[in-house]
């Protein structure tokens, strides 16, 4: 194991973490403000990726594709919120789970109908591809490095939005007492739609960025959705700061676990079973972290009472 490889893995973990944050921040806001479990958040991630792929292919511009991912995911978010989600705020968690599960079916099958089942690939423009040399002579993908930077920038912006602006104050007020803030004259329905659209746009953007590294395909959102749930539960539901800490924790722990555990077990086992045990344990690692966090802090790291 070399030092360079370790740094590279940590950077990969950070990159994974900030992408998770883009998903988790929307999910945690919707959860915290509206009390809604949205399983269809992963579908918005997929919508963003497909919008980016379709527009980038049609216009030849990756930048337009990225913009489209934000716009289309937000639009899909607004549409779904107005038509369906709005009716679920007053329902129990069970109805929300069933309805948003149904939405996943609709989104996935609708996308398969439009685009087919084959994965699409995005070409990152020349200027963003290639590698950069970091201090210490480490070569690292420029695109991934940019994702980390963009992710942290968005996280900073979102924290500022929530803690410094008027709409942020309203969102936080909505989290603690929704009746009171509607009594104070805030249009709560509009606020809900804005929060939902914001979360959708961030998820769609994450979908486009991750789709550029991997591939764009139906069902790409669900694995990330589950991880995003793990993140917000670790961080504490409704807390953006918690989502940020949780995302980075999950991203780094997962990536490093997959890298280090097989090596660790290799120290006292034969290589093939070390790989098997190590990777089995690594894939369970973040769920163990989550169970551990909930065991000691049943409402997450930064959570108020559930």
């Amino acid at each position: 194991m070399t030092f360079t490889l370790l740094i590279e893995q940590i950077l990969n973990g950070l990159q994974f973490g900030v992408m998770l944050f883009l998903m988790a921040s929307g999910l945690t806001l919707v959860f915290g403000v509206m009390g809604l479990i949205n399983l269809a958040h992963g579908s918005l991630y997929m919508v963003g990726a497909f919008a980016c792929a379709a527009v980038a292919t049609a216009t030849g511009s990756y930048w337009l594709g990225l913009a489209a991912s934000l716009v289309f995911a937000a639009l899909a978010g607004v549409l779904v919120e107005l038509a369906i989600i709005r009716k679920l705020y007053t329902r129990g968690h069970l109805d929300q789970v069933l309805a948003t599960f149904a939405l996943i079916l609709v989104f996935s099958e609708g996308t398969r109908w439009l685009f087919g089942s084959f994965p699409l690939y995005l070409n990152v423009p020349e200027i963003l591809s290639g590698a950069v040399v970091l201090p210490g002579g480490i070569q690292y993908s420029l695109f991934r490095l940019l994702i980390i930077a963009v992710g942290f920038a968005i996280a900073g912006g979102l924290l500022a939005l929530i803690h410094k602006t008027r709409i942020g104050i309203q969102i936080r007020a909505g989290e603690s007492d929704r009746e009171m803030i509607s009594a104070l004259g805030v249009d709560i329905n509009k606020l809900y739609t804005i929060v939902f659209a914001l979360g959708a746009a961030l998820a769609g953007f994450a979908g486009a960025l991750v789709g550029s590294i991997q591939s764009v395909q139906v069902g790409m959102g669900e694995p990330v959705l589950i991880l995003a749930f793990v993140v917000i539960v670790i961080g504490g539901i409704g807390s953006i700061k918690g989502a940020l800490v949780g995302s980075i924790l999950v991203g780094v722990v997962d990536t490093l676990g997959r890298f280090l555990l097989p090596i660790l077990f290799g120290a006292f086992m034969d290589p093939s079973s070390a790989t098997a045990v190590g990777s089995a344990l690594a894939s369970m690692l973040i769920y163990m972290v989550m169970a551990g966090v909930l065991f000691f802090r049943p409402t997450g790291l930064f959570g108020l009472n559930a």
């Binding site: 479990i37 069970l94 789970v97 079916l105 609709v106 589950i226 793990v230 089995a280 894939s283």
Partner: protein, 329 residues
Amino acid sequence: MTLTRETAINAVLFVGLLIAALIAYLLDEPFIITMATKVAIFSIAGIGLNLALGYGGLVSFGHAAFFGFGGYVAGILANHALNNTLVFSWPIEMAGTNSMLMIWPVAIFLSALVALLIGVLSLRTSGVYFIMITLAFAQMIYYFAISWPAYGGEDGLPTYIRNSFPGLNTLNPIEFFLICFVWLGVSLMLCSAIVHSRFGLALQGTRQNEQRVTSVGIDPFRVKLVAFVISGGITGLAGTLYTDLNRFVSPSVFSWQTSGEIMVFVILGGVARLFGPLAGAALFITMEFTLGGMTEHWQLWLGLLLLFVVLYTPGGLIGVLTSGRGKDV
């Protein structure tokens, strides 16, 4: 029990499933019998979940763990019997088996044990956190099953033949259906007995108001834990039957989609209604089949249908049929 409308609907559902399978047998339509078997198996899984989710208010998003565990117990024991190897040799020697009479108690016991472990840890949390921690445990087992190569890993584990039951040819679809149907009846009776027992009342009391239950001297944690364990055992049994139905078990039985599906059956049929899971599973699997025959994109229509059910029919299918007097959870 008085003859209410719900009892009548329940009887129609239960007898209807049997008649559907028997007619399919007379018409020589093994595929329909298999579908009816699937309905029976998923109903049993749903009955297990309903006990925790419906009557106990414990919204578990991780029942795939128990369903899969039961499934893998059947798969692993049968696989060892097939290859004539020992399951383990320490502290005692344990050989594989393909007798259902042996597999069932082992599977129920182990699934219940897993439910005990998961329950002890998860029941410390409540609400959304409980939903998520049960999901996390199921995911843990899912990834473990995928990456553990001893029993097929990602490829799954074929059992080639169905496990045997004395006096029956389990490979004959109608005979296997009857086994599952009898189990469905037993699960329904067990669930009904539990719900109407003192324990069942304590469980429903705990769901409604934990403080009040505590004040009359009942420990809510223990009540919930016992319900969760029984729930896990029943769902685990369904898992073994599912392995036998497919003659194959793969990690996908542990996936969150499996948990989601079992949950959908329960909610679709009507939460905290004895026959709700049966109604839900029957409707879902029939829709899957009919829509699947009409269009390639049946999932889209199924999704829209589910949306309609959630938004406009509180109380699920049985709730609608009994004029919408929804039960609240």
